[in-house]
Symmetry: C2
Subunit: 345 residues, 2 copies
């Protein structure tokens, strides 16, 4: 065990970023650590998930969850260990996951427990980083977005952008398990080799090396039945020119557009939806929360059977949060980006 | 009866238009009229439907039907009267509808009958112009697009652009019949008054008079559940900011964009689909052909009961085709635009 800590170190949102977040948009703070509030817990945060969606949470305005307030600790999902509990639901030593925030400790009262969606996780089922990747929100997003919105049928072609990223990894592997042809789009040869060689996708198009349009022609000779879009922008527009009749486009994110200071680029080729009687549909993973346990069990089963792999890119140290997050938007991470802020055990 | 005619007058596509079609993109021709080919018919064309989709048919490239070839008679759906038949399916005097082309007569062989989708129509059910509007392709597009793709539920709010146009008229009235709030978007006070006063929409937003955004706030206080889009462009983008969770956007057309010489404006606000778990889906009316008879019977029933009205804007004379078509893109027509090229009876 580590020595008893008495300080919680935090990263707070200091200003609403314009474009890519700047160092001055963040403020590092420290607070004394106390006992858990009545009915609550103190969590030692271990691993924090850095996600493209964070950029949206920093903006003012209506979305699927309220924005992070100026001066508030930056919102983040993470895994940690309960260090002290006054809640009947948790005991010291339990491993948990939930919205813990970019800080070394999360002190949650009963209401905070509810709000953070804190749940116990079973460390024997998989190592902790996996709980922020295939068994966490990215995995759940991929699983429900692909299966419920994309509705792939065996023999169909599924294309996913951000293929080496947290969501993309799972989308392609689930597509393969369901009998589909899985084609990724990723940036750089190493990522593409990983996606094909390690994860077993049928092909991967390197958007930094050549034309995505030509890549789609080559690797999706029968057209695209399901496109799982994590990036938006030009790539979405290009895939729209290659979709089949009754194709389904899952709108999961648009990482290429999140730091725009000009209006988002809408898909110019959206009338391909008309010509092809196709569909473009959005999804938010929280809607499927009651089905997470079943999905986790299924993915963990595939992992155990050796049919499913995943990769995390772990950056160490709370101080590195601002740079690591910006690296995510530049596509610098290779695998699910995780910030390690504490030692397990 | 008119005197026996010996000449077929035609409008042919002379060149692929760039932007709005120019007079030189058309060529007027005449051909002698003969007897029907074996197994075929000669039709005296009476009314021809002028539709936004025609602009797409003039462009080269992959779509839901092949483009009109250079030198070919311009494609158009119309109604006419059989003047001579060598087909067992039709007799002289029958009223028919199908792809007759922009010409005074259609001479169809057995294969041409098939290709034009020629069917007999029952003139006693409704006057001929209605067979190009609520009982024709616009009505079928509205009916199946709204009910099958939009899936409105009683109590929901349905918004339709091009509300005074051929498709829009029917969309709003069917929405009302299904127990929805129907809000139109149209250009000009006269059209808006018609849509509310004559057709019974709950409200209509005049996009030429003020802000569509403010209009939506005022007339859709509960948000938008179904948006039936005929126009694309800025209006689609604005409606996207007002959609409800699980909203359905039916992509039927994008008349504001058809004559663009620059790329089509994609919907910048498409990520509203994500936030709202909403869907944008295209449709092509031909897919529902086997269900047309039932839909025609239902709409004709509503007309008989006085629950359903429609308005046509009839321009007379084959020579006026080029101007009438361009007027459609400028929103000059008021009701379904029809070109009259022959006298009935």
């Amino acid at each position: 065990m580590t020595a008893v800590e008495t300080v919680n170190r935090q990263v707070r949102l200091a200003a609403r970023p314009v474009g890519l977040p700047k160092p001055s948009d963040w403020r590092f703070t420290e607070e004394p650590l106390g006992d858990p509030p009545h009915g609550g817990v103190v969590v030692r945060n271990l691993l924090l998930s850095l996600d493209p969606a964070m950029r949206g949470w920093m903006n003012e305005g209506r979305s699927y969850i309220p924005p992070v307030g100026i001066g508030e600790v930056m919102r983040a999902v993470g895994v940690g260990r309960i260090v002290a509990s006054s809640s009947p639901a948790f005991a010291a030593g339990d491993y948990v996951s939930g919205a813990l925030g970019i800080q070394t400790h999360a002190t949650l009262d009963a209401e905070g427990l509810e709000r953070s969606g804190l749940v116990r996780i079973d460390r024997r089922l998989a190592p902790l980083p996996k709980w922020l990747n295939p068994l966490g929100m990215p995995g759940m997003t991929a699983y429900f977005g692909l299966l419920d919105i994309g509705q792939p049928k065996a023999g169909e072609t599924v294309v996913v952008s951000g293929a080496a990223g947290a969501v993309g990894q799972t989308v392609g592997q689930v597509a393969k398990i369901k009998g589909c042809r899985a084609v990724g789009i990723a940036g750089g040869r190493a990522k593409c080799e990983f996606v094909v060689g390690e994860l077993g996708f049928d092909a991967c198009i390197d958007y930094k090396a050549g034309s995505v349009r030509e890549g789609l022609k080559q690797h999706c000779p029968g057209g695209v039945d399901v496109y799982f879009d994590n990036v938006g922008g030009e790539i979405l527009d290009t895939v729209l020119t290659r979709i089949n009749r009754k194709a389904r486009i899952v709108i999961c994110g648009a990482i290429s557009q999140y730091n725009n200071t000009t209006p988002i680029k809408g898909p110019s080729n959206y009338l391909s939806l008309l010509v092809n009687r196709a569909r473009m549909e959005g999804m938010v993973v929280f809607d499927y929360a009651d089905r997470f346990p079943a999905a986790i069990a299924e993915i963990a089963g595939w992992m155990r059977e050796g049919r499913f792999r995943s990769r995390e890119d772990i950056v160490e140290g709370l101080d590195r949060f601002p740079d690591a997050l910006n690296g995510l938007f530049a596509g610098e991470n290779f695998g699910k980006l995780i910030l390690k802020v504490g030692e397990d055990g």
